[in-house]
Amino acid sequence: MSEEDDEIILSELSDEDLVNQMFDDLYDGLKDEIVEGTNILLERGWTPYKVLTEALVGGMKIVGEDFRDGILFVPEVLLAAGAMKAGMGVLKPLLAETGAKTIGKMVIGTVKGDIHDIGKNLVGMMMEGAGFEIIDIGINNPVEKYLETLEREQADILGMSALLTTTMPYMKVVIDTMKEKGIRDDYIVLVGGAPLNEEFGRAIGADAYCRDAAVAVETAKDFIARKHNQRVGGQA
């Protein structure tokens, strides 16, 4: 069989086969194919939200699971993330146009002294894909930057990331400052990064340690739902 015969024409696939093919293409980090698949689904009348959740987030979920199970490694995850980002580039303006309501707002950044932002960027992207609004304050953030952004943006969640064992204690500085100012309980505080663990998260007073981007999304959804339920309960 010639190479030409092997070529898959995305536009000729059924919706179901196309989504499955996009899962494969995301897995293989194929940006152009993801953009093409995204556009085809939109042309077929899929809403931007449906494309995002069913094709892109669905595909990244598989990538995340295989990363967790040691089947995929960081380079492959980054390539997949790059492909998802390309697809989101198509969807983002459309999602904004449709005024889709966000689940919650998260301020996210790496802590003072830490320039390693790969994990933070992955979390930000997956959170965005799950319907959160992300205010990314970048790298090397002092406590003041976190707090002023939380207040200005009226955020729900603070996400802090660190790769170094020398910088991760700064997360406690931020949380302690929030306590001193009496604002700690106004926010859900999630922390993550390679050298962290659950015990560390608990010890510094975070609401949760998230071991990867998928866990961060589920944890954030869970806390937002609890917050919502508390509000509803309080009004009853």
Partner: protein, 213 residues
């Protein structure tokens, strides 16, 4: 005994089985420790190394060190662990305290080579460090695990926030300096060669060796 950097990276080094003091070290420190041992005439010191590549999965270092200590403790009068924290977030220190063995101070080898206090005072958050070993093993430690051999386009994602590559030279080796310089160039970073010698590794091993069990 023939030491290869590849073996030190991937499999480590088994102890020779002689001596009363065993140093359990990262493979990245093997040549340096053997050089210190020779110059100090520490015949009572034996060396076992764990694979240096464990550094790419720091969570695996504490259990590997624990297994090595448990396996060897019956055969030696004392054991010293030549690892710093090495990204274990204090877990290696906990293991060593529980086993009653000493370890090196500091966060990483590039901190104790320079001197932990001096290193911390620099506060160089945007410097990427190479030691002699890492300069020789740049391919095995950086290029391949990060997938840059297959996907050089990821370089910016990994190193975009770094400004410089600091080569901490333990020895004066022009060929190695050129290798480190080439690594900096490849990553698009400014290059600095910083001679450190063996730093606090030398100080601490001298102290341990002087005890002569």
């Amino acid at each position: 005994m023939t030491l290869t950097d590849r073996a030190l990276t991937e499999t480590g080094l088994a102890p020779a089985g002689d001596g009363r003091l065993l140093v359990i070290a990262c493979g990245a420190l093997a040549r340096e420790i053997l050089a210190l041992k020779e110059s100090g005439g520490w015949d009572h010191m034996d060396l076992a190394c764990l694979p240096a590549i464990l550094h790419n999965r720091p969570d695996r270092i504490p259990p590997a060190v624990e297994a090595a200590v448990v396996e060897n403790r019956g055969a030696y009068e004392s054991i010293f662990v030549a690892y710093a924290d090495c990204g274990t977030g204090g877990q290696l220190a906990e293991v060593c305290a529980r086993l009653g063995v000493e370890m090196l101070e500091g966060p990483h080898c590039y901190a104790f080579y320079e001197g932990n206090a001096a290193f911390a005072a620099r506060d160089e958050i945007d410097a990427f460090y190479l030691t002699d070993f890492l300069a020789r093993q740049f391919e095995a430690f950086v290029i391949k695990p990060l997938g840059l051999d297959r996907h050089p386009e990821l370089k910016e994602m990994y190193f975009g926030n770094y400004r410089s590559l600091v080569y901490q030279a333990q020895t004066d080796d022009p060929a190695l300096t050129e290798k480190a310089r080439a690594a900096a160039e490849y990553l698009g970073l400014e290059f600095e060669r910083r001679p450190t010698g063996y730093g606090e590794l030398s100080r601490d091993l001298k102290r341990i060796a002087a005890r002569r069990p």
